[in-house]
Symmetry: C2
Subunit: 151 residues, 2 copies
Amino acid sequence: MTSHGLGTTTVCQIGIIVRDIERSAERYSRVFGLPMPKIVITDTYDKAHTTYLGQPSEARAKLAFFEMGQVSVELIEPIGAPSTWARFLEEKGEGVHHIAFHVKGTDQVVASLAAEGIALEQQGHYTGGMYTYVDSAPQLGVILELLEDLA
Amino acid sequence: MTSHGLGTTTVCQIGIIVRDIERSAERYSRVFGLPMPKIVITDTYDKAHTTYLGQPSEARAKLAFFEMGQVSVELIEPIGAPSTWARFLEEKGEGVHHIAFHVKGTDQVVASLAAEGIALEQQGHYTGGMYTYVDSAPQLGVILELLEDLA
């Protein structure tokens, strides 16, 4: 174990909330000269087991990914609520929602961040792993996402 | 020349607007286990030649940088106005202001982005180079910064 919170300092993803993912993805594609990505939808509750502030949520999101070197830019269009994605769109409008890091031992990382006053906001599963958003915006100006591969 | 706008797809920096850079930098330092960075202030007008929407501006900013792999996270506390930094803080509060890319031929890149309806917002110089912010938030959900090394 490292002594600090995340055990890593390598940003792997920048997540951007948008209102219309098809329109936004086309614009990214044109500006950066990248192929139009496939737009996917997060899993339903029976697979994703999404929790928001500790309660189950049916909320989902449309996602599109652009590879931009070490980091991927993830576009996110919220579907339904409550979710960290829907809250951000309502409070801030379109914009950068999170920066993401690959971690090991999510529970320990979350406990370490809680000691800094940074609260767990949303968790869920996807094929091969799980994600956790902590609401570090009051402390760091941006939400952090923890990504952990699961066997 | 590449046919697309920026000529690169490698994000090199994430810029985050904060209200109190000393406080925010200490929190980043603790959460990521990184040394406290030196806080610097952008040059005065006689060196930086800052322009905002085409007009000279005396606005400056305090900056702090954290290396996080391929990308650096830049904390920015606006000093004075008008600037893209001060506008963001007023309109959105703390949050991710821009993602940055190293480019060659800023004028050509700016012209290419203008063709997508993306407008030049702010330019200035620093030791060894120049920066350009384009207000791509309406199109991409985030401002882009173009960084160019100058001989």
